[in-house]
C-alpha cells in the first residue's frame, strides 16, 4: 500500500509536527493548550516508531508495541495533568502560567 512513498516523507511530516508542538509549548500561556502541544509531540514520535518498524524491520512488531505503550502513557499523563489543572483552577481561578507563581496558597 505504501510502495511509492519514501520513508523520508513520513519522517519529514513527523519532524514538522514535532517542532510545531514545541513552538506551541513555547508560545502558549494556557496550561491546557500546552498539554495539547505535548500531545502533538507524543503523536509525532509515535509516527516515527511505526514508520521505522514498517520500513526497516517489517518482520518484527517492536515499534508497533512501543507506540501502543506511548499512547497508554499519553492517556495516563493527560488524565493526571487535567486533574492537576482542575485543582489549580479551583485554587487560583486561572490556568495561565503567568499567574502561577506559587506552589501553595
Amino acid at each position: 500500500m505504501i510502495d511509492n512513498i519514501p520513508l523520508n516523507a513520513f519522517l519529514v511530516i513527523s519532524t514538522l509536527m514535532f517542532f510545531i508542538g514545541i513552538y506551541g509549548f513555547l508560545t502558549r500561556r494556557n496550561l491546557i493548550t500546552m498539554l495539547m502541544s505535548i500531545e502533538l509531540i507524543l503523536n509525532s514520535v509515535n509516527i516515527n516508531f511505526v514508520v521505522f518498524n514498517k520500513f526497516l524491520y517489517p518482520n518484527l512488531l517492536h515499534g508497533h508495541f512501543f507506540s501502543l505503550i506511548v499512547i497508554a502513557v499519553a492517556a495516563s499523563e493527560a488524565a493526571v495533568a487535567i486533574a492537576i489543572i482542575i485543582n489549580i483552577y479551583r485554587n487560583f481561578k486561572s490556568i495561565d502560567v503567568d499567574n502561577l507563581d506559587q506552589m501553595k496558597l
Binding site: L16, T27, K54, L56, Y57, H64, A72, A79, N87
Partner: protein
C-alpha cells in the same frame, strides 16, 4: 500518481495544517477540535501502513478519550468564547526561529542518512498476532511492558481521582490552623 499517494498527501497536508492551527488558534475549544483532526489523520496514516489495531487504538484512546477529557477540562476552566492570551511578539519570533532552525537541521540530517528499506517478509499485525505478542513472554513477547503499563494506568487513574477530588473540609481545616496559636 495512484490513489494511495493522493491519500497519503491528503493526510500529510491535513496533519500539518491542523497542527499549525492547533498551536496558533486563539480560541481554546477550536484548537482542541483541530487537535482531534490531527489525531484522526494520524490514524489514517496508520491504516495506510496496515497497522489496523494501532489505528483503532489511536481513534478510541486519543480521539475518543483524550480529546473528550481535554474538552471537558476546557469547559470547566474557561468560557467558550474566551480567547487565549498570546505570548509577546518578541517571544513568538524567537520561538519560531529556534523551532525553524531545529526543523531544518533535523530534516537535513534525515535526507543525509541513507535508510535501507528491508525486504524481509512483513508480519501481519492483525488482532490475533498482536494479542499473542502482548501476553507471550518469549523473545518477541511483550508481557512485561503490558503488565507495567496496566499498573501505570491504574496508578494514574487513582492519582487523578485523588487530585481532582474536592476537599470538603478545606474551610474548617483552614480555620483550625488559623486558630491554632502554635502556627
Amino acid at each position: 500518481m495512484s490513489l494511495n499517494d493522493i491519500m497519503f498527501y491528503l493526510f500529510a497536508g491535513s496533519i500539518l495544517t491542523f497542527s499549525l492551527l492547533t498551536v496558533t488558534s486563539r480560541r481554546i475549544l477550536r484548537s482542541a477540535v483541530y487537535l482531534l483532526f490531527v489525531l484522526v489523520s494520524t490514524a489514517g496514516i496508520y491504516f495506510m501502513l496496515n497497522y489496523n489495531f494501532l489505528a483503532a487504538v489511536q481513534l478510541t484512546v486519543y480521539a475518543g478519550g483524550i480529546i473528550v477529557l481535554i474538552i471537558f477540562s476546557i469547559l470547566l476552566t474557561s468560557h467558550v468564547s474566551e480567547k487565549a492570551v498570546v505570548a509577546p511578539v518578541k517571544q513568538q519570533i524567537f520561538s519560531a526561529l529556534a523551532v525553524a532552525a531545529g526543523a531544518v537541521l533535523t530534516i537535513m540530517t534525515i535526507f543525509k542518512f541513507a535508510f535501507v528499506p528491508s525486504t524481509a517478509p512483513a508480519v501481519d499485525a492483525n488482532v490475533h498476532n498482536v494479542g499473542l505478542a502482548l501476553v507471550s513472554y518469549n523473545r518477541d513477547g511483550f508481557a512485561l511492558p503490558f503488565e507495567v503499563i496496566s499498573i501505570l494506568l491504574l496508578a494514574a487513574m487513582v492519582g487523578a481521582i485523588v487530585l481532582a477530588k474536592k476537599e470538603k473540609n478545606l474551610e474548617s481545616a483552614g480555620s483550625q490552623t488559623k486558630n491554632n496559636p502554635d502556627k
